[in-house]
Symmetry: C2
């Protein structure tokens, strides 16, 4: 018997991503977000939901671009801080000691210390309610060599990203390997056939 | 020095959610999705991206509703299977042994064995490219008592959801606790002040 919890947000897990953008004087800003996700394969796109009151909201509309930098778990404290304070009155790069790098392909900065960087141009905005979705078309991904696994693609256990729960507001690290996508489930077909 | 990987999808982590929908004869179907995310706080909404060719795409448009059931890690094999085969020619509930339950609030079925269920009405669709986003307004969440933690909300370590990497196509379990959101980062402010 399941218990009803009402019209609330308990979807999990959520990613912990840091959005990079430039202000109206070219000052770099970053903001941690969790209301995000991949939303299209072709063109490759990700969606980031932001409230109108956020500096990042205005920045992206002005520059039509943003980046996503994915922090490893050792930056959990910094990532949380970047989601708490506003760039309107704080230079978050200065406080955290993280380094803004100007993207060579979009008009936005990324975080040097984070192992994966996704560079996006603004494709569309979708007003939903308190949040507006910014749909970014991925124009390049840059990764530290150290996190590349077989076939030259980033391996999640090397990236070691932060996992968030919007329900109990917690951060966790990655745990045990469970299997390969598009492969693990085939065992079920085999079991059924045999 | 970061290495450029091109306009590809290496965003991580992704959730592993199972979308429940009814077909045109009322037959329950389920499909595993990872191109998803929370997209608004008020009204509470989640976004699920689907290709037009999917049975779930037609089902949701017809019934204007869907559910999200969140599997625990012991169902990783079933979740992967549910993402590989199509409900057009397979009764995935029958093959997996999972149980469809008719929602009491939306016109869609959910998976009894999975600890969290999110019931949505279709608020909007957004065509992006190969994928269309289905924005669902959350009208209720139902959870097994066993996964509720302090304050009566689902605790992610009790839910023990599956974590997916679109980059290296792997599934992982949840690992070590890193800290509390909106709290861990305050240490950085304190360190800076002291």
């Amino acid at each position: 018997m399941k218990k009803s919890l009402g019209a609330t947000i308990h979807a999990m897990p959520s990613p912990v991503w840091v959005v990079g953008s430039y202000g109206n004087k070219g000052e770099p800003n970053m903001m941690t977000v969790a209301w995000v996700g991949i939303c299209c394969s072709s063109p490759p796109c990700i969606a980031v939901s932001l409230q109108k009151s956020r500096l990042t909201y205005a920045n992206i509309l002005e520059h039509k671009a943003f980046t996503i930098s994915i922090p490893s778990k050792q930056y959990a404290m910094e990532a949380d801080y970047i989601g708490i304070v506003s760039g309107k009155n704080t230079d978050k790069f200065s406080v955290t000691g993280l380094t803004p790098v100007k993207s060579n392909i979009v008009d936005a900065p990324y975080v040097k210390e984070f192992p994966i960087v996704i560079e996006c141009t603004l494709l569309n905005t979708v007003d939903i309610g308190l949040h507006t979705q910014f749909i970014g078309e991925i124009v390049d991904v840059k990764a530290d060599e150290e996190v590349l696994g077989e076939k030259g693609v980033p391996a999640i256990d090397k990236v070691d990203p932060i996992i968030c729960s919007a329900s109990d507001r917690t951060y966790y690290a990655l745990g045990e390997y469970l299997g390969q996508a598009y492969a693990l489930g085939l065992k079920l077909s085999e079991e059924k056939i045999s």
